[in-house]
Symmetry: none
Amino acid sequence: MSDAFPQDVSLESPPIRQSEKGRLTSERILDAAEEAFGENGFEGTKLRDVATRVGIRIPSLYNHFDSKEALYAAVLERGIAPLLRTLVESAVDRGAHGNPEDIVEQTVELLAERPALPRLVLHETLDGGRHLRQLLQAWLGPLLSQAEKLVAEGPAANRWDPDQLPHLVLAMYNIVVGYFAMAPLYRDLNGTDLLSREALVRQIDVLRKLSALLFGPDPR
Amino acid sequence: MSDAFPQDVSLESPPIRQSEKGRLTSERILDAAEEAFGENGFEGTKLRDVATRVGIRIPSLYNHFDSKEALYAAVLERGIAPLLRTLVESAVDRGAHGNPEDIVEQTVELLAERPALPRLVLHETLDGGRHLRQLLQAWLGPLLSQAEKLVAEGPAANRWDPDQLPHLVLAMYNIVVGYFAMAPLYRDLNGTDLLSREALVRQIDVLRKLSALLFGPDPR
Amino acid sequence: MSDAFPQDVSLESPPIRQSEKGRLTSERILDAAEEAFGENGFEGTKLRDVATRVGIRIPSLYNHFDSKEALYAAVLERGIAPLLRTLVESAVDRGAHGNPEDIVEQTVELLAERPALPRLVLHETLDGGRHLRQLLQAWLGPLLSQAEKLVAEGPAANRWDPDQLPHLVLAMYNIVVGYFAMAPLYRDLNGTDLLSREALVRQIDVLRKLSALLFGPDPR
Amino acid sequence: MSDAFPQDVSLESPPIRQSEKGRLTSERILDAAEEAFGENGFEGTKLRDVATRVGIRIPSLYNHFDSKEALYAAVLERGIAPLLRTLVESAVDRGAHGNPEDIVEQTVELLAERPALPRLVLHETLDGGRHLRQLLQAWLGPLLSQAEKLVAEGPAANRWDPDQLPHLVLAMYNIVVGYFAMAPLYRDLNGTDLLSREALVRQIDVLRKLSALLFGPDPR
DNA sequence: GATGAATGAGGATTCATTCAT
DNA sequence: AATGAATGAATCCTCATTCAT
């Protein structure tokens, strides 16, 4: 149970898998599960669905993962941890001279490669983050404080109240993550594919402009 | 099944319930269901949970609603339709001279009164909007075209490409809705209650500033 | 889980059931379960078996008992508790002047009416008494100490070492319980039905003689 | 299935195992299985448990035994057959001048060396002796008739009705076997280890006394 | 001889739903 | 209007067994 989600989140490289063939099946399961969990969340995802996507039977899943929870944890770990690692490094390392716009763009590019992840994160968020809490704590903390520093030392320092910074960070977070969450429905309603290259470029452009407006030098 | 979600969405007032006592129970069920669905989504919500919140047994729910789907539809109908109605009216009626900032503020105030609703909407969004499609279609269309008009005729016309307008609307949408979606987790991680009056005021303030930056007259 | 086996074992009368019809089904389930658990133990008993004996479907069991464990606990409680109550009362109340032979006979008569019970107890004993522990503790303690007193104050005091008393009690226990445990197999191997009236009378007779030999006045 | 338990039970020495290394593994498997089956019975024992005790993986068991049934049969064969052989020989060979007390003592000593066996037998008894039937038939028959003879020709002849003899044998059987069955639970409830040397000596002592009382010369 | 992977069969349990009361 | 009882369908999971390596 609780073992599936260890207290200390490893932001290090994922462990090496056993045999080549075993690695492949595990990997395929993780891929399928990432998709499924991304689409339907934890509760909404049925192992039957995952197994079908992989092309195996349900019990075979248990040769690779101890439980649905453990599978979910593995998906989160594999998907989110590297993402967070990248972001945190990017944010922390580049420090105050890092360009907020670049971080946002980088994030969008990362998420665009695996759009199931932001949906997964949003599902988790709505579910109270039972499984993601530690990942988020390791993430939000640095990000928020970094954002504070960025703005406090940046050219927009005088434009925002320190109390408002968390709201700004949340806003950017929600814009970025929500964009991917909306994509399938949007396409369904509208015919427009938000995940197309052009749409992504446009989104990045908007985000750049937004970042500039929010955090850039006062245009006046 | 499909009957529960008729093609034409009534944006009119909800129908009056049967007897006085029945109406009350129905209302209490709707309240409980709104909470439950908001917290756990459609799949994640169990009728047992709803019944428990109401203080009745599961089969009694069926004296008021034909099915879980119908209950869900009723919750959406009761919760979202008035919201959309207000927004659409507000956006359309006030027309080009309507202030975008006011619409945003109004929306936040409306959602703050029933924070389960935005979570509900987000759940639906992630689930592919199976039940919300018509509502959203009736909503997004007017909103988007109205937003186009607003910007095209507004002072920020030269600042945004028409292609970027949907992205901007999505962005605002995600900021507003995501804020409420994050609230419980945020409180859990952080201790800060995003639904407190002060936080809401701050959020509205940030949104006003944002609207001004995005849509207001060029500050240069 | 743990709730199914509360710490304090009520040796009091069983609670009154709800409706008459509900009582009947619950009772029939308990009867079927007592049989099944008696025949196959906890692990070996399948809910399908119980449900079939009752003539209902498996999920219906859950309208009456929360889980297999809870059902098992209820069977033990209903079956063993009254038995223990009777025995303990009998042993304690009649005190030192109580006749050991009478207690043994009474026990056999009680068990003969519901031969699944001793088998149940033996199953539990072999399984480590996970569920019976409290019952046994409440039982063995008084019985052993009472037995000590009986013998210490009785005419056979000089015949047995105090250290040997627990062995004697165990022996009597095993004779009584084992007799019923063996019955089905014995019949199968031998054609003799140990549960027939004649056999039971003979067994009681043997037990009386045995008691006399063990605890009675020195025949020399 | 049925093949695993041939009709004619070989009371002869167990067959020699294949290779030296294989023999060792087989033996270790049998040891582990004897323990496991003794603790949990046939149904309650999982191959995973056996494999874990041996330190191998489940499929490896199948290099040594064709099925769980076959493994169980082998355990019974290896454990019970020699025991029965010894007992039967002892009972039959020594004939009427054999001392009943010695047989009982010998049995206790044999069982004390591998206390899993009596538990195994009891499990089998409760399960209807599906696998043990032939062994028991080969055993109980001689034992019973021998017992008859012993008593009929012995000094207690006038003390027992011939009809009561099976009850006496059963009683002795249940005392002896039940003692071991109770041991783990007793230790758990009581702290006293019935398998300690002292306890065993005491038990043998009690059994001797009992035998004397039951079958010995009339003390009057 | 050992084992990773796969799986059919089956087990306990949950859940939405129905129905008689 | 409320509910105890019943249930088909589906879920997660376990287990003995097989097979290729």
